[in-house]
């Protein structure tokens, strides 16, 4: 079953466990170590491998022996001045702590106790081992494309949907009526709108300016009219008329603050002459 694991064997020690000696074996120890470390997926994987070397049920492994094997392994790598991934070193530090804790008399142990930590590690190793075995058995099953084959050239099933169209007499004549109604020639009428033209505003404002030389608010120039639309239009037209008169030098405009009342008066004759 190892053939489908892209060259990685599930159990790297299998078949060679007698000879296994870590870095010491092999003609090129440095390479050998690198290769060994490449073969493990992290410290837990390495620990599981070491645990299996104890050749006992994982429930009966000696955690202390396991810790020592791991630390020894890391030590040897250190002696060769090989770079180890940080997580291997973190695990080594933690295991060194665990080892010292395990060696202490129970009453001197902190919480959580060394036994609890050791048990947790053991449980984790059991779980990883269980999944590794499960994966192997899963891969060993009758897999489609390797052990069993599905039909090579199925003819295929197809469901053709055929539409049955529904319409009734009423819908038909109603639709025709609507086409006729929609396309009947229509007469467009433009409604007359109440506006004050600029011309009429201009003559109204200039004639009212002639009467007084006092400042007058622009609203005073508007005709009395109930229609709000016309009042708006008159205001706009009168404002433009005021600007026009100011431009022609016939009127002055004054506004003390923003949005304040806008006032205007006829240009005094003297100034006008200057």
């Amino acid at each position: 079953m190892t053939d489908m694991l892209d060259g990685l064997t599930l159990e790297p020690f299998e078949g060679e466990e007698e000879e296994w000696d870590g870095v010491a074996t092999g003609p090129t120890p440095d390479d050998a170590l690198y290769l060994e470390l490449d073969g493990w997926e992290g410290p837990l994987d390495l620990l599981l491998d070491l645990a299996r070397r104890q050749k006992v049920d994982l429930r009966n492994i000696s955690i202390l022996a396991l810790v020592e094997q791991y630390l020894d392994y890391i030590d040897r790598a250190g002696a060769l001045r090989l770079e180890l991934a940080a997580d291997y070193l973190v695990m080594a530090a933690w295991l060194a702590y665990l080892k010292s804790a395990l060696l202490l008399p129970k009453e001197e142990q902190d919480e959580p106790s060394a036994e609890e930590l050791a048990l947790r590690l053991q449980l984790r190793l059991q779980r990883l081992a269980a999944m590794r075995d499960a994966a192997a058995r899963l891969m060993g099953g009758d897999r489609i494309g390797r052990d069993v084959f599905v039909r090579g050239a199925p003819e295929g099933l197809r469901i053709d949907r055929k539409h049955k169209w529904k319409c009734d007499h009423f819908a038909l004549v109603q639709a025709y009526g609507q086409v006729k109604a929609r396309t009947a020639p229509a007469i467009h009428m433009v409604r007359e709108r109440m506006v004050m033209t600029l011309d009429s505003a201009l003559s109204r404002v200039s004639s009212m300016l002639g009467i007084s030389v006092k400042w007058m608010e622009i609203r005073d120039f508007l005709p009395d009219h109930a229609n709000p639309q016309l009042r708006k239009s008159a205001l706009a037209s009168s404002f433009v008329a005021a600007l026009e008169l100011a431009r022609m030098g016939k009127a002055e405009i004054e506004q003390e603050d923003i949005f304040g009342p806008l006032r205007l008066r006829a240009m005094p004759k003297a100034k006008n002459a200057a």
Partner: protein, 210 residues
């Protein structure tokens, strides 16, 4: 039933899994030069009355669905759909004005008519193509069919209500603007799908037009 022998099983599995029909030589090569002819004969007999047959065509063997069950491979499912408003209008115009060209339909409706709309009406069997109009471009004309009359319960086209009848029935009243907007917003010109239930789901737009 007795179990088939190993060679028969091997030939059966080989042909089942093969992506191509195989000659007996192909099969034999595949199975280590076994003499597969008796196995093929046995399999052919075994499958003769089943839903699947072992057939030989042009010296090649393959499994195939039994001919009497071929209809199972291509099933037709009827789906009832209500004609869209656009299609109903086009149908009405054809009925009132036939023979009528597409350009004339568009000019009466005041909007462009998608080709799909006429396709639907022809698929429904209510409209067919008529002779070409002898004008520049020689456009096709469209006509209603006898099925159209039958479906709408008409003896003849003269039974269609006239404009005065429509007016009297209030069917020439101006169309609700909102409804027009709904109808001409480039949605599905062709059909409104009522799903498979065949029920006429009368929608709001329908109700608004009545």
């Amino acid at each position: 039933m007795s179990a088939p022998d190993e060679l028969v099983r091997a030939v059966e599995a080989t042909l089942f899994a093969s992506e191509e029909p195989m000659t007996w030589q192909d099969i034999s090569t595949h199975l280590g030069d076994a003499d597969v002819k008796p196995a093929l004969a046995e399999l052919q007999a075994h499958y003769a009355k089943r839903g699947v047959r072992l057939v030989e065509r042009g010296k090649k063997w393959f499994f195939q669905t039994a001919p009497d069950l071929a209809h199972l491979l291509r099933r037709e499912k009827e789906q009832i759909r209500r004609l869209s408003r656009a299609a109903t209008e086009v149908l009405a115009i054809i009925a009132y004005h036939e023979p009528v060209t597409r350009a004339e339909i568009e000019s009466i409706r005041g909007v462009q008519t998608s080709g799909g709309t006429l396709d639907v009406l022809m698929e429904a069997g209510w409209v067919r193509m008529g002779p070409r109009r002898e004008v520049p471009g020689r456009p096709l004309t469209y006509l209603t069919t006898p099925e159209f009359l039958a479906h709408f319960g008409l003896e003849s086209r003269r039974d269609l209500p006239g404009i005065e009848d429509l007016r009297a029935a209030g069917l020439l009243d101006p169309v609700d603007a909102a409804m027009e907007a709904l109808d001409f917003e480039g949605g599905d010109e062709t059909a409104e799908d009522d799903g498979d239930d065949g029920e006429f789901a009368r929608t709001d737009t329908d109700a608004a037009g009545e």
